[in-house]
């Protein structure tokens, strides 16, 4: 057993264990923290497969920026708010579990069949990727692909981001509420109390 196998085993156990813990965590903050653990373990598997830049981006953007946004909203809405335990549909939980298990079995079967088919054609192309990572380097090779073959989708994502920003600003604006609701100063609040 080599060090790579060992690292993969750790990442596998941490990712799977944290994902299962997400299912059973009651508190939304705990779910977010377990999700961060899953993402760090996945970054480890990216590193193992030679995707160095993607692993760094996974940590910085996913585990950093996006999860901070989630935690920010959780804190804004109130942490101590507990989830309702009343189930309107009593059969939904076992049904979801059964269908999820079915889905997992289906994906695993398809993956096994696909790998069998792929191994006869190409096999493992990690040698080519290793050469790419060594000669121009992972970041440079990635930039060449991104800014040549995928230039149009790349520009389209900038339009998507601008649309998202404008949409969120429209959603978050409270129309006329600042002038309509009178603000109470701390002195007046004490007076009322």
């Amino acid at each position: 057993m080599t060090i790579g196998t060992l690292v993969f085993g750790v990442a596998f156990i941490v990712a799977l264990g944290s994902a299962i813990a997400m299912l059973f965590a009651r508190n939304a903050v705990h779910v977010a923290l377990f999700l961060v653990a899953v993402q760090v373990a996945l970054a480890l598997t990216f590193l193992l497969q030679g995707a160095f830049f993607v692993a760094a981006v996974q940590i910085i953007i996913y585990a950093g920026a996006i999860m901070v946004l989630f935690l920010f909203v959780v804190m804004l809405l109130g942490v101590d708010r507990s989830e309702a335990l009343v189930e309107p549909l009593p059969f939904q939980r076992p049904l979801a579990l059964g269908l999820g298990a079915l889905l997992a079995a289906g994906i695993l079967y398809l993956a096994a069949a696909g790998i069998d088919a792929a191994s006869t054609i190409t096999g493992d192309g990690s040698g080519a990727l290793l050469a790419l990572n060594r000669d121009p380097g992972n970041v440079l090779a990635l930039a060449r692909v991104l800014f040549s073959r995928y230039l149009l989708p790349f520009e389209a994502t900038s339009a998507l981001l601008v649309a998202a920003i404008v949409g969120v600003m429209v959603l978050a604006r409270r129309v006329g509420s600042i002038s309509a609701v009178p603000r109470i100063s701390p002195a007046e609040e004490r007076e009322v109390a």
Partner: protein, 102 residues
């Protein structure tokens, strides 16, 4: 490069995706449902990176960037909508927002 076969990574991705589906179906808090959707996107990212390694080129790793951008935009807009619903209804429970249900 690791000597661990690509199929093990795909198995991990399939299990994570299925857990994400089960979580999104069973949980009631809208923010928690969103986190399970992020888990599914992460599983798909792992599949992309694994396929990039199997084919020996970088297209899969480029696709991870696009998934990341779409996930960021989706999270921002979705969380703003959840915030608005919660401001009006005092709860993030998805069962409370049933005005459009038959």
């Amino acid at each position: 490069m690791t000597e661990v076969a690509p199929s093990y990574f795909l198995v991990l991705a399939a299990l994570l995706f299925s857990i994400g589906v089960v979580g999104a179906l069973t949980r009631r808090n809208a923010i928690v449902i969103f986190m399970f959707i992020e888990l599914m996107l992460n599983a798909v990212n792992l599949v992309f990176v694994t396929f990039s390694r199997m084919w020996g080129n970088l297209d899969g790793q480029v696709l991870v960037f696009f998934v990341l951008v779409v996930a960021a935009a989706e999270a921002v807009v979705g969380l703003a909508i959840i915030l608005l619903i919660t401001r009006r209804r005092e709860s993030a429970n998805v069962d409370d927002a049933h005005l459009l249900r038959w």
